[in-house]
């Protein structure tokens, strides 16, 4: 099982203790995880993601057997199609996009094109609902949470593979039940922000949406890695033998990048 939502690098709005790849490798081993898709946290706030992507690949180079790069492709940037092919060729585990930070609406044609291009190649597109709780954000942190409308629009676009991280029960249900069964199967979710007992939102979603729609994500180094494991450990007994999906299985390169 891998962590689909880890990062390295600094965060603009508060100090993060040692957000470094060698520390992440130790944390994953401690948590019993086989690896991680790793994003470069500062890239979410960069206009041009290329510098952050290069820093990410360099930083992960000594750890590539465990840490797979999750670089950013910005579909309103010149030459993004070539960038996508290059990054996949270099071994990107998935592609990250931040439509809220780029001011892209749910029906942005460029965002749709990126999702379809990722689907065509067979690489998951990772979307982040939030980095922090809305109530603690810095006054300059105004991007807002990813909306259900974004996810629905992309899931309806065609043959896409979406991994949505950081959603709560409301956004997840508003999306899932607004999609056809085929479209639902195009979306996987992590459960890092979904409540466990006593409200038991995760248990409810395992019963209604299905455990197979979920992948494991921690949001390290922003959040305690122990939280996702604790959530699984506190499921009602009958749900404890869960069948969540290993995010690695979502990556299936169908087409040699050219």
């Amino acid at each position: 099982m891998i962590d689909c939502a880890a990062f390295i690098g600094s965060y603009p709005f508060r100090h993060l203790p040692h957000p470094d790849p060698d520390v992440l490798v130790r944390v994953l081993a401690r948590e019993g995880l086989d690896g991680a898709w790793v994003g470069y946290l500062p890239s979410a706030w960069h206009r041009d993601p290329s510098g952050g992507n290069a820093a990410l690949f360099d930083a992960l180079a000594p750890h590539r057997s465990v840490l797979e790069p999750a670089p950013v492709v910005r579909p309103d940037w010149p030459g993004w199609e070539r960038t996508l092919r290059d990054l996949v060729e270099q071994g990107a585990g998935c592609i990250r996009a931040y439509p809220m930070h780029w001011g892209m609406s749910p029906h942005d044609a460029q965002l749709r094109a990126l999702a379809l291009a990722c689907g065509e190649i067979g690489v998951p597109l990772v979307l982040t609902v939030r980095f922090e709780d809305l109530r603690q954000r810095h006054p300059l942190d105004v991007a807002g949470d990813l909306t259900a409308a974004h996810v629905r629009a992309l899931a309806r676009a065609g043959r896409v593979r979406l991994v949505v991280t950081g959603a709560g029960r409301d956004l997840l249900e508003e999306t899932h039940w607004g999609l056809t069964p085929d479209e639902q199967r195009r979306v996987h979710w992590d459960f890092a922000w979904i409540w466990g007992p006593p409200e038991d939102h995760l248990a409810h979603l395992f019963r209604t949406v299905g455990a197979e729609r979920f992948v494991y994500g921690t949001h390290w180094p922003l959040r305690l890695t122990q939280n996702s494991r604790a959530n699984l450990d506190l499921l009602p007994t009958e749900l404890r033998e869960h069948g969540i999906t290993d995010a690695r299985s979502l990556r299936a390169i169908r087409k040699t990048p050219t």
Binding site: D200, N227, D233
Partner: protein, 286 residues
């Protein structure tokens, strides 16, 4: 560890900030939510839940501004739940300081039914003089006051009169003989603001509950306040409570510091008699 062994170990563990629901709470699934708290508590290894009921939770008056009748009805339900689960549940009596006479009577009535603390919501800012008679009574009866807190109030938010660490610190300075539990350090807002706000006010004890599991929060709380000032708790998300216990283990606290956070600080605040199943002896035996 066997499947039945508590996930957080067998040493005493007090959840200093819990809630239960009741028939008048306006949700049909209230028995299931209560049962889920006990189920998860047993799995984690919670020895005692110290809980409150917040009026009607918005059904007939707002959660953070409960009417006197809703506060009383909730307290009655909470007393019944505690009586039915005497081995593992203790309770706070919930009051609204806007109704001073009712609040004072309700505290007396709650104590007579076994309450061991006072729960204040966000019905009035924490440093408001209306809270003074309540704190005087709490101090006289040695009842810790659990006060709902927003970590760093930067603006008004709907549905509550939010207070932050600075507000509670001002109240605590006015009442040095009372003890205050600052609610849910991880419960929304900026915890980094709260820690220095209460550092020098030694009768304020933050609880670690809340859905927030920011890395760095526990380390900063320990660095700023030390283990003797922190109480383990869950509030509405028990998985975050378990995660924080596991993170504290990773930090590498001494056994004494862990025991302080897990239960000994709670025993000091509420009185050792409040938690008869918690003792250093039970810790060493477990």
């Amino acid at each position: 560890m066997t499947d039945d062994a508590p996930l957080a170990g067998g040493t005493p563990l007090v959840d200093a900030h819990a809630h239960f629901y009741h028939l008048a709470a306006g949700r049909a699934d209230w028995p299931q939510v209560n049962a889920a708290r006990l189920r998860a508590g047993a799995r984690i290894g919670v020895t005692y839940h110290v809980a409150s009921i917040l009026g009607s939770y918005g059904h007939t008056s707002p959660t953070y501004f409960p009417s006197p009748s809703d506060a009383s009805r909730g307290n009655d339900a909470m007393a019944d739940i505690a009586a039915a689960n005497e081995s593992c549940i203790r309770w706070y009596v919930t009051v609204n300081p806007n109704h001073t006479e009712h609040a004072l009577r309700e505290i007396d009535r709650g104590v007579a039914r076994g309450a061991i603390g006072v729960k204040l919501l966000a019905s009035r800012r924490a440093d408001d003089p209306l809270l003074d008679p309540i704190c005087e009574l709490a101090a006289a009866q040695r009842l810790p006051v659990l006060h709902h807190i927003w970590q760093h109030r930067t603006r008004e938010w709907p549905n509550q009169e939010i207070s932050d660490g600075r507000d509670l610190a001002r109240l605590a300075v006015r009442h040095p003989d009372a003890t205050f539990i600052l609610a849910h350090l991880g419960g929304g807002g900026d915890w980094a603001h709260t820690l220095p706000a209460v550092r020098d006010v030694e009768n304020v004890f933050p609880d670690l509950s809340g859905s927030g599991v920011d890395r760095g929060m526990l380390d900063a709380a320990l660095d700023t306040l030390g283990a003797r000032r922190l109480l383990w708790a869950c509030d509405l998300t028990m998985e975050t409570g378990l995660a924080k216990l596991r993170a504290l283990e990773v930090i590498g606290l001494s056994a004494g510091d862990m025991a302080d956070i897990r239960w000994r600080n709670a025993a000091r605040l509420f009185g050792a008699g409040a938690f008869p199943r918690c003792s250093d002896r039970s810790a060493s035996v477990a």
